[in-house]
Symmetry: C2
Subunit: 211 residues, 2 copies
């Protein structure tokens, strides 16, 4: 299949989540406008996304929830090969994200946690043992980890991200405020302060972007 737009992939993740809830409630079909309402978007956008992944609904009956979930899962999880995730830097943020991850029913598998604090190494976090960053390459290779969550202090961000790439990680979410660039790696930056300042700007009366 052709590469999907980023925003579509994001929405697919959300579709799947709410669809699973509907399925658990015993619903078996859903209309585009119903799905749209659950996510506060437009029905057209839902239909277009579904069109893009090649699914087709039934006129006057809507989309089969079961089929849709299966298809989205094939696309995101790639069913064949599980993707293993590591959290690098298990401070407060790392631990908070860990909880989100283990609490959700995503198919991504948290395989390891890394830190350089001797007190943490060897400790178990929500059932996942913490390794020394020194062993990053070894463990990443052994566990077949491909995705990394980077939550180290900013001064280590660059160095550690390079280590992650060299170890074979191909997708990184960077939660440090340090801007990174790694060729051959899909990098997603998330900067809390920037987001907050953006919200501050757009919620000021004169910039009324208040939808």
């Amino acid at each position: 299949m052709k590469l999907l737009p980023e925003r579509t992939v994001e929405r697919l993740s959300k579709y799947r989540r709410v669809l699973q809830r509907e399925l658990d409630n015993g619903t078996d079909h859903i209309y585009s406008h119903e799905l749209a309402k659950l996510l506060h978007i437009t029905p057209v956008q839902v239909r277009r996304d579904i069109m893009l992944i090649g699914h087709t609904g039934t006129l006057r009956k809507g989309y089969s929830i079961d089929n849709l979930i299966k298809l989205i899962s094939e696309i995101i999880d790639c069913s064949s090969s599980v993707q293993n995730v590591a959290i690098v830097g298990i401070g407060k943020l790392g631990q908070a994200l860990l909880d989100y991850l283990t609490g959700s029913n995503t198919k991504l598998n948290l395989s390891a946690v890394f830190d350089n604090n001797p007190d943490k190494i060897g400790t178990s976090y929500s059932g996942t043992v913490c390794y020394s960053i020194e062993n990053l390459k070894k463990i990443v290779k052994r566990e077949g980890i491909t995705i990394g969550i980077l939550t180290v202090p900013p001064e280590f961000a660059k160095e550690v991200s390079t280590m992650m790439k060299d170890a074979g990680i191909v997708g990184i979410i960077n939660f440090t405020p340090v801007s990174l660039k790694l060729d051959g790696t899909f990098l997603e930056e998330y900067d809390v302060i920037t987001t907050l300042e953006k919200v501050a700007y757009f919620s000021k009366p004169k910039n009324a972007k208040l939808l």
Copy 2:
């Protein structure tokens, strides 16, 4: 001034941060290509953003760092009125974000923290006292809080976000996986699992969006 594009505002926040660092290092002017390099973007984009905020550099000398920081601050912080922030739900994620916030030199002022856990109410978190959610409206009005960070468990997301709006909060960052919609409020959603699944999708070999 005309409303700025969202992406530009995001970049302004990042410009300011790295510019402050340069200033602290004793640099007083910077070229677009230097600033671009620090954030791994293109020089054109930097010049374009700076043009949009009405600043103008000096040919062959670049931009005055000091002036640029001042201008960006006027735009984002609106210097006149400080914007007060509250964190609603002080679990692990809330506490992690609190650290980011108090550790950064943003002009946004963290004024209060809320939770419904009796053990937490009255406790001080990084110098900010935790109030009961029952008193949200009262405290928000008293402290003049306009921005809220929502980090409650998903089952409370909708109810609490409505309370926040009713209390007078006009900008919310929603860290719960529950999609929200509040008229008259600028709402920014951040969904860790969705981001992670997006990274998983784009870092798969066949979807090689590896820049």
